[in-house]
Symmetry: C2
Subunit: 610 residues, 2 copies
């Protein structure tokens, strides 16, 4: 039996083995985004950034590395290095804010993936001699011979176009070449240029990009942009429909996406002070539709039942062929999808949350317009995708909005629904309500009895009124005088129905997976909730309306942009890359449309629990 | 000690081991082109095409395969299958004309490479089910799963562009996919389409192309075209000079070459009744300059001393990126060069002549404007290239011409130079003289004393006259009345000087290699003479003027377009491909410009021997 290590301020309890370091215990249990411990040096005891404070219990005595990096004073104050301190019994640990990553920050936040850098790109410095009659060997011949003699590398290949770019290198200054697999993909004068990679999480709405130092694993810049394809359809299906109108339309959506990605690359490079020509590899994860649209794969079969991807092999393609102005020979690696609505982003989420290696029963949810759910036990994984709709992104909700400034993001219902406390993002007057606010409101009103188990508003409640214009009952959240816009902010009967449909889809999907696995809700030992909404939602509210299983709160873990974290891990480590491919191959996909239990469960789950 | 097998009508004597089959004895000793035995099935006893007739001596008794394929009558007439008959003692064998390949035919002749087919392209037939809600897997997902489960293939990649091409394949008809290494490079409805490959020998003057059945190894079509770049410079240096005039000029020479190659591909496909989309791989050998020009590599360093190639790694590039309209995902493989004037064609020549595995001292010459020479012993190879000039291609010779109809190709000098017998190609009246004719004439006149050891014509000889107009002495080969053109056909003092310079370069190159290896001329056990001129020249003449070492004739072997044969072997067999790369890596290149012995030898060798 392991020992319990409790992490503050996250409140996460982790079961660890005596003999593990603190970072080993913390890894696997939560992603860097969700409150992992920053370890830029990969846990080698070099950077000192994984400083934590021992609040209760004991670790192994401090070692010399800790004394050097924390000082005597640091040690006296209870500080330890998470990569050095070894667990010997139960303990409570505080992660100082500077080492605590993600969580309170933006979902695309640029934290450092907790993997030992082991990138696909390897660099070699090669001394050169001037070509002459007495030494009649060209730059490349010298490179080839040097690599063979000093590193035993043979059977190498080179992108012929690269030769053209580096003709100027001939001389007697040393050159550096980058090798990926058997291919030489970059070459330049040896110097201080560091190898950099690009990790991208390609979403229907948002594209998150990260520039990563491939040597140290540090994230140098992080940036999110809206997917420029939004102009051609807000959701996946309408965007595919547009692309299917004709070749010209398809080319247009591909083009704007590629241009957007290239702009993101340049923005990241500016922020990090790196030239795009030094970006030597890209790893792209995304939902299946975005993956297909980026590669310009056939999508007609993706837009109609049974929504199958045209390709689920990993793709390696020259970045320049995607319009990315990186190093000339740089390759973009696209993490494979599992099914039409289970993409490489889900694979990356599973990887970074370590769901694939969890021993106990683990449920993972990535809540969005489509919610991907995975149920794992001892490496066996089944997954499904359910159409939960865009309600939690604020769409299809009367006064819904994205989670940006002015959105009501937290609601407390008091005094039987007659009083209401709320918070807005940025603290300004409310202008609308975002997903987490809607969820809180519906859950609170249900608990207060303002909404019954069928979702009906109590017409006699003092804050419920009938809107004659819209012919719908509504509950007034914020009266005009408090509102930041010139109207009351309300939740309508229709809004509640949208939430019911969304939660019914998610719950039914979860139940189908449990039934297929012969498990019950209470068997679930861990629930990973990923994605922007999933990270900001209040777990109690989600449990109250039955969207998440009724389990003790400590079994839950909200992991932020776990897909983005996974993308960076795959970029940084060939081992993680192989794992991602294994995950994609091993997941058993359940098509809910072919599962009668789903419809049964769905109808049942429209009601609220209890 | 081995036993001697003599092959007729070639007159070649081969030392074989008892226990070898006839084809094993024949292989290694001469290439298919030079008089090899046709074995389309790779020597498996399937096709019966390696029929030979035992003229003297004995083989093992005929087996059942021979009885079946040759019939009782065939056996009674002395016919045997070279792949079945086992050597038990000395014998004389006649190769019937239908099994005799090359030699008397065009240098590009389409004979079958004597290797067991083991192509880089592997095909797999895959059953498909119709995609449905109950079976929600796309064509490619099914392909992936089938290959993993039935062949253990994982980690595959696919050219994303290929997906687009085969969308129409979705259905329940089986598909065939082609895999090259880890990459899926082709896919189509399973059917009778055979896998075909293209082998190309890319010369400065001529391009030889071969379409090869990758399953049987049979050559389906062979065709030679003039290199269309000739319009931009006859020889390598003038062509490079043109390319270096500017980007536009460079693009033009690249473009015409690629277009020419694509036309050759289509011509070959028409001849063989194959669609270009079924051509799944190309192997291209060529001299270094043509290799660079095809790939559009930097060439400025190739046009000036010390003439180094910009790249000597093997190149794999999508054929479509070279403008070749083959199967969409098809790859072109370019055999690596060794040095600026020792190209992949020389590597292919060494491979097909088996020089790399010769135990005895072996000299290989590929005579052309530049003559590549290799000296091998026990797998150690040193090579050089010498500027022998275009005299043997008929250029720089007063009445020289290419080896085409009307060219004097054979000359016998009789009666002290007063009489002359000659042959022309095609048997028509002579219009000029080609390389082999010039060589015969100079050798004959030297032996007759009409030319002295300094190369001077005897001014007092009845057929020698002084041409006042050109201010040069000349020997009348063919008087006006016999000539096919309205003039005498002559050899001038200047022509003789050109031959002296050419032979001096070749001989000096050979001597430098011998000196570097610490060997003497008489140590050479085998001399391989390759190329069009090398195959048609009369050995006695070449020896008489000192261009080839003075050795017994049976040590010589004229092997035709051995580079083309090598290209086909590399196309057909991955083992041969690896060998070619090893050869290219292992050859030690001697830069004659940096070798003082070369100039000394050269001056000495301008004189004729004796």
């Amino acid at each position: 039996m392991g020992v319990i290590i409790e992490f503050e301020p996250i409140g996460l309890r982790v079961e660890a083995e005596a003999g593990q370091t603190v970072i080993q215990a913390a890894r696997g249990m939560f992603t860097p985004e969700s409150g992992g411990i920053s370890a830029p040096c990969g846990g080698k005891g070099l950077c000192g950034r994984c400083r934590v404070r021992l609040v209760e219990g004991e670790f192994s005595p401090p070692n010399e590395v800790e004394l050097r990096l924390l000082g005597k004073k640091g040690l006296e104050e209870g500080y330890r290095l998470a990569c050095q301190a070894v667990i010997i019994g139960p303990a409570k640990v505080e992660i100082p804010s500077e080492a605590l990553t993600g969580r309170q920050k933006l979902q695309l936040d640029g934290t450092d993936a907790a993997v030992v850098p082991e990138p696909a790109i390897k660099r070699y410095n090669i001394p050169l001699k001037t070509t002459s009659v007495d030494y009649p060997y060209s730059t490349w011949q010298q490179v080839e011979v040097f690599l063979a003699q000093n590193y035993g590398l043979s059977g190498l290949r080179i992108d012929p176009g690269l030769i053209d770019r580096v003709e100027a290198l001939a001389g007697d200054d040393p050159v550096t070449v980058s090798i990926r697999g058997r291919e030489i993909t970059n070459a330049f004068m040896t110097g201080m240029r560091k190898p950099v990679g690009l990790a991208v999480d390609l979403g229907t709405t948002k594209i998150a990009g990260f520039l990563v130092d491939l040597e140290t694993g540090m994230t140098l810049a992080a940036e999110g942009i809206l997917n420029p394809q939004i102009a051609y359809g807000e959701d996946v299906i309408s965007r595919l429909a547009y692309a299917l109108e004709g070749e010209e339309q398809y080319s247009r959506v591909v083009q704007v996406l590629r241009e957007g990605l290239d702009r993101l690359l340049h923005t990241l490079c500016n922020a990090a002070g790196v030239v795009p020509e030094d970006v030597e590899e890209a790893v792209i994860v995304g939902n299946t539709a975005m993956h297909h649209l980026l590669l310009k794969l056939p999508v007609s079969q993706l837009a109609r039942s049974p929504y199958v991807p045209s390709l689920t092999l990993p793709v390696e393609i020259k970045a320049r062929n995607l319009g990315l102005g990186m190093a000339f020979g740089a390759v973009a690696y696209l993490v494979p999808a599992v099914a039409g609505f289970v993409g490489g982003d889900h694979v990356a989420m599973i990887l970074s949350s370590r769901i694939h290696e969890a021993h106990g029963v683990t449920l993972g949810l990535d809540i969005g317009t489509n919610t991907e759910i995975v149920l794992a036990r001892n490496g066996e994984m089944i997954s499904c995708s359910c159409a939960s709709g865009p309600a939690f992104e604020g769409a299809h909700i009367q006064q819904g909005m994205r989670a940006i400034d002015g959105a009501i993001s937290r609601v407390e219902v008091a005094d039987g629904g007659r009083k209401l406390h709320y918070e807005t993002i940025g603290g300004s007057r409310p202008v609308g309500i975002c997903g987490s606010g809607i969820l809180d409101a519906v859950a609170g009103l249900y608990r207060a009895g303002v909404i019954n188990y069928n979702g009906r508003l109590d017409a006699n409640h003092p804050r419920v009124r009938f809107n004659g214009e819209r012919k719908v009952a509504e509950y007034v959240l914020v009266p005009l005088e408090e509102s930041g816009v010139d109207r009351d902010i309300v939740i309508t009967q229709k809004d509640i129905s949208e939430i019911q449909l969304a939660k019914a889809a998610i719950t039914a999907g979860t139940k189908v997976l449990l039934e297929k696995a012969g498990l019950k809700e209470e068997d679930i030992e861990r629930v990973i909730v990923a994605g922007a909404f999933g990270t900001h939602l209040r777990l109690e509210s989600a449990i109250a309306i039955g969207m998440l299983p009724e389990l003790p709160l400590e079994r839950f873990q909200q992991v932020g942009n776990a897909a983005g974290a996974g993308a960076r891990m795959i970029l940084l480590s060939e081992t993680e890359r192989r794992r991602a491919e294994e995950i994609a191959r091993n997941i058993k996909y359940i098509e809910l449309a072919a599962t009668p239990e789903f419809s049964d469960n769905f109808l049942e789950q429209v009601r609220f629990p209890g």
